[in-house]
Homo-oligomer: 160 residues x 2
DNA sequence: ATTATTATAGATCTTTATTGTCCATAATAA
DNA sequence: TTATTATGGACAATAAAGATCTATAATAAT
């Protein structure tokens, strides 16, 4: 299990947009050059990011992309979920098996929406783990990375 | 990004073994029947679990599988990593891109083994998140699920 | 020792997901 | 109006997951 390359690209693209906030929009050409990915492929990713409200896009001369909201309001989780989707990390495929009887509470079969507390014991652990992951990714914003990069940078300057 | 079905099968197989500890070995036939998976496919999974020292296998009459160590010493992470592997959740593919300069410390390119503290800023976040996930999965053992299932069960009996 | 039983390893196939390209179209600012 | 830029659909290549079959090796019971 790994994050896809697209997630990698999306994160770096967003970070670059965050870094170029003051300037004009950033076109797909520039972006693709900096990330080292083809324009066609990257544009698919940017399109998704726009559909999910992470970036704004404007066509035409001097068009391009910009962040749809301040970088401190864009979390890693936000970006990752655009690409990876929002399904659960663990989805049981055999809830009709014999074992299920032992491990699941009554009513746990139709567990998707309404009874979060009634998940089976396996899902309880797996979903718990996923929550830990999400929590951490929610706590880290694009801005926090930008800040740290700037800190490092100025520290380097002081050294010299 | 999702856990594979194989991980699902592996977890359930191990749980069943833990549940049948007192009795004899559990053959692939019984196991496959209970999980609702083909024998051939499941045997591949069991083989991996054996190679990684999670279960013991004995061929021949009355052979089968049993846990290689007590269920309270088998964590969810143990089982999951057998199937999903041990690569990092996030592996950067373009550390030669222009962006890399900004985000990575010096020496961060050859980051794999020796400089865990020097990872780049993106990896720092992503690896941190992975650690959260792993920590949680490490804290939950097969036995803990068994215990809880038993608790529920006896609670149900009391009700009746 | 023989035999029936069981796990193992290899080859192979299908299906699904990821990664990637190309092109025609729509939108926009100059 | 036009040059420019993003968008969406179709498509292809590759890789990974899911699954099956078969021949072989190991073992316990006889
Ligand atoms: S116990 Fe949970 S994970 Fe297992 S089969 Fe039932 S629903 Fe699925
Ligand atoms: S900054 Fe980190 S994630 Fe980004 S390219 Fe460099 S090594 Fe990869």
């Amino acid at each position: 299990m790994q994050f896809s390359k697209s997630t990698d690209y999306a994160l770096h693209a967003i970070i670059h947009l965050g870094h170029s906030q003051r300037c004009n929009n950033v076109g797909i050409r520039e972006l693709s050059g900096i990330l080292g990915v083809s324009e066609s492929y990257l544009s698919k990713i940017m399109s998704k990011l726009r559909q999910d409200g992470i970036v704004r896009a404007v066509p035409g001369v001097n068009g391009g992309y910009e962040l749809a909201r301040p970088a401190d309001q864009i979390t890693f989780l936000d970006v990752i979920q655009v690409i990876e989707g929002r399904q659960q990390l663990f989805e049981c495929s055999n809830s009709s098996s014999q074992q299920h009887q032992l491990l699941a509470e009554e009513g746990a079969v139709q567990r998707d929406q309404k009874y979060p507390g009634k998940a089976c014991l396996v899902e309880k652990v797996m979903n718990g783990a996923e929550q830990q992951l999400h929590q951490y990714l929610r706590e880290h914003t694009i801005q926090s990375v930008l800040d740290e990069a700037f800190k490092r940078c100025s520290h380097d300057v002081n050294k010299k």
